[in-house]
Symmetry: C2
Subunit: 128 residues, 2 copies
Amino acid sequence: MRQTPQREAILKVLQTADRPLTVEEIWARMEKRRSGIPTVYRNLERFVGEGWAESILGQDQIMRFVLCRSAHHHHHLSCETCGKMVEVDACGIETSLAGMEALSGYRITRHQLHLFGICPSCRAAIEG
Amino acid sequence: MRQTPQREAILKVLQTADRPLTVEEIWARMEKRRSGIPTVYRNLERFVGEGWAESILGQDQIMRFVLCRSAHHHHHLSCETCGKMVEVDACGIETSLAGMEALSGYRITRHQLHLFGICPSCRAAIEG
DNA sequence: TTTGTTGCAAAGGGTTTGCAGGAGA
DNA sequence: TCTCCTGCAAACCCTTTGCAACAAA
């Protein structure tokens, strides 16, 4: 894959983000906006394909992207107030899978877990 | 809420579906297609608001709808081959939440879990 | 009769595609 | 030079909205 200023800029934006960003947000944060939106889409798709980034589709139907900071199995915990996201390592589901498989008859191959909550700084702001 | 033929038709389609359906699919299955697409959208939105139906947004960015067969906390297990969906009662996450909250500092308020696997009939077809 | 619903058409808005020009290696 | 990449514009397509006609109660 060729190194281009656009790709560098996109990766730089993702590296400094503390939450999943929409394509528009990424584009807006690129220095001098030196890229067209389609380029952002195409490169993000590429990054996801290469396993460097991850796409998250929320209930608002807008795609958001984050860098994969860890390659192993993990989940996301997002703040419902500011959107800040952290990764959670263990989800503890593994222990329940066997029971679910027995009850349903399905062979479970993968799962997606999204956790929502309120981050420490928003809690401080809300709770005073 | 008024009773209309369109609403009856939509509910009837959802009642006989064994997997989440897109708006187009619901519309196509309505008898004599006696409704406009916007009506389907509006009523599904209403049903979700009333707690009768649930919307699921998959990675293909298309909204799908299912009736809520159970009011209590549950999750969905979808077949990756045919899309057939069942509900799973216990997810076993509750036991992990305290640890996650301690590690992250977040107060976790809710979670979404989607399980994927292969249903019994697809397994039979695949495994011969 | 009153008021919520529907249908049509058009608009919205995030995402994708075609293609010619441009830049990396 | 040879590809791959980018930018522009337009197309796509799912979804929403405006509004007049209609139907449930």
